[in-house]
């Protein structure tokens, strides 16, 4: 039975937390011993998280998960024959650094290209500010040719100027079921402001010291 103290503070919340914990115990009944032991070890923390949960993930718009102001895009595409070689060499010539093009997209936090399944598939994963449609529009408006250069290795890519481009991206995007961001409220614009103010504050303190 839940303790008297817990019942007094938030009976409804506590009951639903206990219910969720019970569900987790049932869910992990056929897990490995390592998993079952881990569940018992964190049950106290989990009870607190499920009774006072941190903000839940939401939708980034058409597809993808968002936490606070930060969204995720995870796309997995099959590569055309020869596509992996072209894309890898292209990325290699850039030294794996996409900064000059990518910095133009003012909402893009991070971006990775990962080849897998013997170079037959590509994972393209980014973290960005705000809504999916706006973000993709930025890519289309700001760096269309870079996109076509890289995406021409993708099986079936219609071209960024094709009206079907967004549908293609949606079709190959897989929404994350878990998404954590250390600073979910900090957009890139806000980070720039922090950097500027932080620098100014440091200089001010140096002067008055």
């Amino acid at each position: 039975m839940p303790t008297q103290a817990l019942k007094k503070t938030a009976p409804a919340q506590d009951e639903s937390a206990q219910e969720k914990i019970q569900q987790l115990r049932e869910l992990f009944a056929d897990a490995t011993d390592v998993g079952k032991a881990a569940l018992e070890n964190v049950i106290r923390e989990l009870t607190s998280q499920v009774s006072e949960p941190p903000p839940p993930i939401e939708s980034a718009g058409r597809v993808g998960a968002r936490l606070g102001k930060r969204s995720e895009l995870t796309i997995i595409v099959p590569l055309v024959p020869g596509g992996a070689k072209r894309l890898r060499t292209f990325l290699g010539l850039l030294g794996g650094n996409l900064s000059p093009g990518a910095t133009k997209v003012g909402t893009l936090h991070d971006m990775r290209f990962v080849f897998f399944d013997n170079d037959t598939r590509l994972l393209f994963a980014t973290s960005f500010d705000g809504d999916w449609d706006t973000y993709i529009d930025d890519f289309i408006a700001l760096i269309p040719d870079y996109l076509d250069l890289m995406d021409s290795a993708w099986e079936g890519w219609p071209g960024i100027r094709n009206p079907g481009a967004k549908d293609y991206l949606v079709k190959h995007q897989i929404t994350a079921e878990g998404w954590f961001v250390a600073n979910p409220e900090l957009t890139l614009a806000e980070i720039e402001r922090l950097k500027r103010l932080g620098k100014a504050a440091d200089e001010f303190l140096d002067k008055v010291a």
């Binding site: 998280q49 839940p56 893009l108 290209f113």
Partner: protein
């Protein structure tokens, strides 16, 4: 003198860049039409980009790093029943993790179910070196790690001496990795937030 001349020439017209452009044209000779077209149209920008390429670095044992921020990407088959358990756990947590803050070097982390729930994609962005980062997970949230990853095939347990080999073996290094603020660690971001907050309060008081 030749070196002098090279120094004075715009970096995007340097022999190294010219050579790279030549290789790209050869490489894209058998690309779809729109790829070839994009190469020619993007050439002026591309030259600048090729000239500026500083290169990603390694995050240590495996993975790419840009400045102070590294990437970890793992694609791992689920254990039997693992996808169902992990999805149930993530749903109970509403997809977010308070434990992530405890790691201290973790920028972002995603869990994505692939190929009809047969594989897990786990991808993070973090500060610094691979070994130190994995150690943070081991010392700070060992039970959460076991709870999440007991659902993948062959997970040896976070306290097993072979856990680092297991992770490294399932990790796939990114071939390109971009970070908007490569020198901003999670700790530095927190420091900036504090300073700006203090400055705001100070200005409010003197105003």
């Amino acid at each position: 003198m030749q070196t002098q001349a090279q120094k004075e020439a715009a970096p995007e017209d340097s022999p190294v860049v010219q050579q790279k452009i030549k290789r790209l044209r050869e490489l894209y000779a058998d690309a779809p039409e729109l790829g070839k077209l994009a190469l020619e149209k993007g050439l002026p920008n591309l030259k600048r980009e090729l000239a500026a390429a500083t290169g990603t670095q390694k995050a240590g044992r495996i993975g790419a790093r840009q400045g102070k921020v590294s990437e970890l990407t793992g694609i791992i088959p689920f254990a039997k029943g693992g996808a169902k358990r992990l999805r149930g756990l993530l749903q109970a947590l509403e997809g977010n993790f308070r434990g992530g803050d405890a790691v201290g070097t973790l920028h972002d982390m995603r869990f994505v179910f692939l190929d009809n729930d047969t594989k897990l994609l786990f991808a993070t962005a973090y500060d610094g070196e691979w070994d130190a980062y994995i150690d943070d997970f081991v010392t700070k949230i060992p039970d959460a790690m076991d709870l999440l990853f007991c659902n993948i095939e062959g997970w040896p347990g976070i306290h097993s001496p072979s856990v680092k080999d297991f992770i490294a073996n399932h990790q796939v290094a990114a071939e390109a990795w971009y970070v908007a603020n490569p020198n901003l660690t999670v700790a530095e971001t927190r420091r900036l937030e504090k300073i700006v907050k203090a400055a705001d309060e100070f200005l409010d008081q003197v105003a």
